[in-house]
């Protein structure tokens, strides 16, 4: 059902790229052939894996930090009015300060290492998660909670069996969104202060004015992100939201 539009969307994207590359010189918009060739060479040389590993490590750990900070602050804000007032301005500051400022500060504080990258990513990306979780907690069905109390479920069971499952879609959605943000911040940190990773490679080839390589590295990372989306997030989401797929035919089968 959805395969056709998806294929069409990717094909049209490639077509636009092809047309643009025909209109401009290769050093401005390199075509798919040149770019895939460059990417193939990078992969063949084996250099790709180290840089990809470094970037994925930073993004992965950064995402963990993002989710821990975001879920913690979002939960506090959702549960307590005082917490909401207290953390409100923190989240606003976090949302407003450009990620590059976090990157610069962390590189100056921690030095040019992975820790700086992870902290920069976590502190820059978490406010978006906070807000999503905060809204999620506000939307929790308290009638279900009182149902749990009426059946003498203890506090821990109410949190695990009634509250958490209602938050799960919000956690999942914000995690997907945060992954994109984390990757963008990671490239920035790598570009200004690292000697490894996809961002570093982009900076390196930028220095050599190699548009084909800039495209090749971007494309490589895009492919990795697509793989994560379709092999991890989509199946996970499908599994966790199975219960939403209603069978309307049963509605009248009293």
């Amino acid at each position: 059902m959805t395969t056709l539009p998806r294929v069409l969307s990717i094909v049209s994207l490639l077509l636009v790229w092809l047309v643009l590359s025909a209109m401009f010189a290769p050093n401005i918009v390199p075509g798919p052939v040149v770019v895939f060739k460059a990417m193939g060479e990078n992969i063949a040389s084996g250099k790709v894996f180290y840089h990809l590993y470094k970037t994925l490590l930073r993004v992965g750990l950064g995402l963990v930090l993002t989710m821990v900070l975001g879920v913690a602050t979002g939960t506090i804000m959702g549960l307590s009015r005082r917490g909401e007032v207290f953390l409100d301005s923190w989240v606003l500051v976090g949302l407003t300060v450009p990620a590059i400022v976090n990157s610069i500060i962390c590189l100056l504080w921690f030095g040019l290492n992975d820790r700086a990258a992870v902290v920069a990513i976590g502190t820059a990306a978490f406010p978006a998660v906070s807000i999503s979780i905060w809204q999620g907690i506000k939307g929790i069905d308290t009638q279900l909670v009182s149902m749990g109390q009426a059946f003498h479920l203890n506090k821990s069971a109410i949190v695990r069996k009634i509250v958490f499952p209602q938050l799960l879609p919000h956690i999942l959605a914000s995690m997907r969104y945060a992954l994109g943000i984390c990757w963008k911040i990671c490239t920035t940190v790598e570009l200004i202060g690292m000697s490894s990773g996809v961002g570093y490679q982009l900076n390196y080839w930028f220095g050599l004015f190699s548009m084909a390589q800039v495209f090749a590295w971007t494309l490589l990372f895009l492919l990795v992100m697509f793989a994560i989306e379709y092999l991890l997030f989509k199946p996970l989401e499908k599994r966790l939201t199975r219960w939403r797929t209603g069978v309307p035919a049963l509605q009248w089968a009293q």
Binding site: M147, A150, I162, P165, W243, L250, Q254
Partner: protein, 258 residues
């Protein structure tokens, strides 16, 4: 299943001079319940009948311990309480059988024993074969049946029901009322049923407590001596209903006099 009660029957319940006040933000006190006293015999079927928003549900919440009373005594003698709400209040991400199991997970049943119990009560409410369905795949009436099975699965001594059929269409709720009576006869639970429908309370109950509004106070107690199973359209039920409607109107008039 054996319960630990000694002298008195476990399914009995007694409220003595129970009152409930809400303190408003302005500091003003709002009386919701006043001087509520009644007793439910073991295995009896009693309805609390009153206008919408009069505080009927508060009585159930107090008995279930979901809310705290301002004064008076509630004696439930350690009875186990099952609750059926106006909305089914099912966990939509759990299958039908896992919804019924939810309150059992608290006690130390084995997985298999819980499933067997759930299957038994799902059969009782006419939902055998729907174990692996999700609530959103079921109609409102079927969802409410699941909620009834969930309340029965803990083998309660008392079943509290808060307008459980008011969200359903008339045909469905008629059917469910008849089935509720059948289930009540089979399981012999004590049932306290809150409703704003005169005909519903007459059809179901042995005893009706008519409750006035703001604050809720017991206006009248009525005993219905007709045997079960009862039929819709029974003239004796109709007579009682007519009389009750008069009482109800009278109560409305006396309330507006105040």
């Amino acid at each position: 299943m054996a319960h630990g009660g000694s002298g008195t029957a476990v399914g009995a319940i007694r409220l003595t001079n129970v009152a409930k006040e809400h303190v408003l933000a302005s500091g003003e006190r709002l009386r919701v319940l006043e001087d509520i006293s009644f007793e439910l015999a073991d295995r009896s079927f009693t309805s609390i009948l009153g206008p919408s928003g009069c505080g009927k549900s508060t009585i159930l919440n107090l008995i279930a311990g979901l809310d705290s009373r301002s004064s008076g005594q509630i004696s439930i003698d350690g009875a186990r309480i099952g609750f059926v709400f106006q909305q089914p209040r099912l966990l939509n991400w759990r299958t039908v059988v896992d919804n019924v199991i939810l309150p059992l997970e608290q006690q130390n049943f084995g997985r298999e024993a819980m499933r067997a119990l759930a299957a038994k009560y799902l059969r009782l409410v006419g939902l055998a074969g729907y174990e692996t369905y999700y609530p959103l795949q079921l109609s409102g009436g079927m969802q409410q049946r699941v909620a009834i099975a969930r309340a029965l699965a803990i083998d309660p001594d008392i079943l509290l029901m808060d307008e459980p059929f008011s969200g359903l269409d008339e045909i469905t709720s008629r059917k469910l009322r008849q089935e509720l009576l059948r289930i009540w006869q089979e399981t012999r639970k004590t049932i306290l049923f809150v409703t704003h429908s005169i005909s519903e309370s007459v059809f179901l109950s042995q005893q009706i407590l008519i409750v006035s509004a703001k604050p809720a106070r017991i206006f009248k107690r009525i005993t219905i001596d007709l045997p079960y199973p009862r039929e819709y359209g029974d003239l004796r039920l109709f007579e009682i209903e007519t009389q009750l409607t008069k009482d109800f109107l009278e109560m409305g008039n006396s309330a507006s006099d105040v």
